[in-house]
């Protein structure tokens, strides 16, 4: 039966890859005419797939298949499939955590934002390291592991559900993850596909299909152990690729301090739109209180920087290790890894302006990153274009594997988390059958859930690709991170450290945060409110103008409200509600609390 499932998955993978390849060949954008002037960046690009690219990609996929096979042979029970048997090596855990945390969203999406907005995004790197690694590992990691192991929790929603002895909490958290995580998954997919587009001229639809199918294959076969083994391998590739890229970028821009000074001198070349939004220079913070400042600080830096603490696919990593010792060791490795990843992406993104300015007669990165299909500039093409233009050919191939690793390591964990959310947290909690069959059914529903999640994410990613230059990758990522932070963080932190925190407080806090965030995204935040169009449909169009324009895009139009992220209000509100409800309601029974807070030693 197991062999049949592997065979079926393999057939599906190769069939889909074949279809994708056929589509790629039939619909690929023709390469630029050689006779065109090479002074324009789009024309300077030659599009081809070399033998080295093909051999590297095949070798890479074979190694992934081999690692998945090892994991598959070791994953027989639900515990092994969902939390990797709780005996993961600290090195594997650290690299897996880092590789899951950092995706193409960070490198291509946020790196592109750094290319257009400058190095102020380094504040996000600081928060990624300080909260995402230090606070997560040194403060939250051990309690999550201890409580998860003691309550025999296999997923993040199950941990919350068992801590609060609540079916609602587990099912609500599981459903929320399954429904909203595709927003983030699609962003990660698109990040990888943008590079395929620039590097190999593979069109978006085919690239998205290739990504989705390969990752779905090894998640379905190998479970979390497969995900973590492949993550560790991919993490190593990412680390080497990004460190080499950093050195190359500084060297290409004339050295450490000189590069920064050259970048600072380009402030006169910032476009009118960005300047109007509040961007004063590539080496400066945006004007305090300007729309760009609010977007950068509240959505990107705080949303992602704090949101990382409540990411289900990351929190579950702490439950995969045997003791606190592994978490302590992983902290040292994780800190260096994240610095090399996001630090490099944001610095290189910004420094690409110096390179492009010198090569293309005063153009900046955003002018050069051109989508050849729509002929429009696209922030998310800055990093891929820089790699293609500035780096040696061998490095382009290697960086292709780096980005493939970044995308796949995150996607695999996301698919696994979504599958586990629907299988373990929703199905098993609501429709649990007999104990003997529960394991088989949970695993089956989990795998079906992964397949559904892949399809939904593919469609969403394809929709994203129709919106160039909207920084959609960074926006989608920050929305999901902020939603998770507001909804889960108070229940998680107070549940880990405060015995008084109880079921009613957790439910109230989660519901208030979720409803407030939904309200803010629908009616107040400009990007999302405009995209959803609910406010516009409520207030109608001003037909006196030609063409008609919406009467209102958001409920409150006065600055800075449309640019403030929901997290700024939802997270404090959620904490206040949690503490207030916990104080006015009865604490949970001592017996239950003793189960949740076991003594060590």
């Amino acid at each position: 039966m197991r062999a049949l499932r592997v065979l079926a998955s393999l057939s599906l993978m190769w069939l889909s890859c074949g279809l994708a390849f056929a589509q790629t060949v039939s619909t690929a954008v023709p390469p630029a005419e050689p006779s065109a002037s090479t002074s324009t960046p789009a024309a300077a690009m030659t599009v081809n797939i070399t033998k080295l690219d093909v051999i590297s990609a095949v070798l890479y996929v074979l190694i992934l298949g081999w690692l998945s096979w090892i994991a598959y042979r070791k994953s027989k029970t639900a515990e092994e499939y969902l939390v990797a048997g709780r005996d993961t090596h600290p090195f594997v855990m650290a690299l897996s955590y880092g590789a899951t945390f950092i995706s193409t969203s960070a490198i291509v999406g946020f790196g592109g934002v750094a290319g257009s907005h400058g190095m102020s995004l380094l504040w996000l790197t600081f928060l990624n390291i300080f909260t995402g690694i230090f606070v997560a590992f040194a403060v939250l990691g051990a309690p999550i592991r201890r409580m998860g192991q003691h309550l025999k929790a296999h997923t993040f929603p199950e941990l919350l559900g068992k801590r609060y002895d609540s079916k609602f909490v587990q099912v609500f958290a599981g459903a929320l993850i399954f429904i909203f995580m595709p927003i983030y998954v699609a962003a990660v997919m698109l990040g990888g596909v943008k590079f395929l587009f620039i590097q190999f001229n593979i069109n978006y639809a085919a690239g998205i299909l290739i990504f989705g199918v390969i990752v779905a294959f090894y998640v379905i076969v190998g479970g979390l152990r497969g995900v973590m083994y492949t993550d560790a391998f991919q993490g190593l590739l990412m680390f080497v690729g990004m460190v080499v890229l950093l050195f190359y970028a500084y060297a290409a821009a004339g050295g450490f301090i000189s590069a920064h000074q050259a970048l600072g001198d380009l402030s006169d070349h910032i476009s009118k739109d960005l300047r109007y939004g509040g961007i004063a220079g590539y080496t400066q913070m945006p004007m305090t209180g300007s729309p760009k400042w609010w977007w950068l600080v509240s959505s990107l830096v705080l949303g992602v920087g704090i949101g990382v603490l409540a990411q289900p696919q990351l929190a579950v990593r702490f439950m995969t290790v045997k003791s606190r010792k592994e978490i302590n060791r992983a902290c040292a490795i994780g800190g260096v890894f994240i610095l090399a990843m996001t630090g490099t992406a944001f610095v290189v993104g910004a420094l690409s302006n110096v390179y492009f300015h010198a090569k293309f007669n005063g153009k900046t990165a955003i002018d050069v990153a051109l989508d050849r299909v729509t002929n429009k500039t696209d922030t998310e093409l800055i990093i891929p274009t820089f790699i293609k233009q500035a780096m040696p050919a061998w490095f382009s191939t290697f960086f292709f594997l780096t980005l493939l690793s970044a995308a796949m390591s995150t996607l695999s964990s996301q698919f696994h988390t979504m599958g586990a959310a629907i299988g373990r947290d929703v199905y098993e909690r609501l429709f649990r059958r007999g104990e003997a069959k529960a394991d088989v059914w949970t695993r089956f529903i989990t795998q079906v859930g992964i397949a559904v999640a892949v399809i939904v994410s593919l469609l969403l990613s394809w929709k994203y690709s129709e919106k160039p230059n909207a920084a959609v990758i960074a926006r989608a990522t920050s929305i999901f991170f902020a939603l998770c932070a507001s909804t889960f963080l108070p229940s998680l932190i107070l549940g880990l450290f405060w015995r008084r925190m109880n079921r009613k407080a957790a439910i109230a806090s989660m519901l208030v945060a979720f409803l407030f965030t939904a309200f803010w995204l629908t009616f107040m935040q400009k990007d999302t409110a405009t995209a959803l169009g609910v406010t516009t449909s409520m207030f109608g169009m001003d037909t006196a103008k030609s063409p008609p324009v919406p009467v209102r895009l958001t409920l409150v139009g006065r600055q800075p409200w449309p640019f403030i992220d929901a997290l700024v209000f939802a997270l404090p509100l959620s904490f206040i509600v949690a503490v207030a409800v916990a104080l006015i309601t009865k604490p949970m029974s001592e017996e239950h609390l003793n189960r949740c807070f076991p003594k060590t030693g």
Partner: protein, 103 residues
């Protein structure tokens, strides 16, 4: 002779018991003091050289740049100091395992 013996004994007790507990606090203190000194120096430089004073960057971005490196150092130091700590089992799990082994 006795005084030296007492001193050596006290030192041994310190190394065995107090040092492992004090070390993280000392490292933390060192980190905070280092950060404080750095901020003071950086601020003086900004005041004396204007906006593009730190690493060729403005103060806000330069501070983020340096904080990235310092927070990485913090992670590494914390990880190394606690490298071998924290493998104590949970009491009830231990008791359950014991009960399973007992026929």
């Amino acid at each position: 002779m006795t005084k030296r013996f007492v001193a050596v004994k006290l030192f041994a007790v310190y190394v065995e018991t107090l040092a492992p507990r004090l070390l993280p606090y000392c490292v933390g203190l060192w980190f905070v003091r280092g950060l404080q000194t750095f901020l003071q120096l950086a601020w003086r430089r900004v005041v004396s050289q204007g906006e593009a004073g730190m690493l060729g960057l403005s103060f806000g971005v330069g501070l983020a740049y340096v904080l990235c490196i310092l927070s990485t150092v913090l992670c590494v130091v914390w990880g190394l100091v606690n490298w071998n700590r924290g493998d104590e089992p949970i009491q009830e799990v231990k008791a359950e395992e014991k009960a399973q082994k007992t026929p």
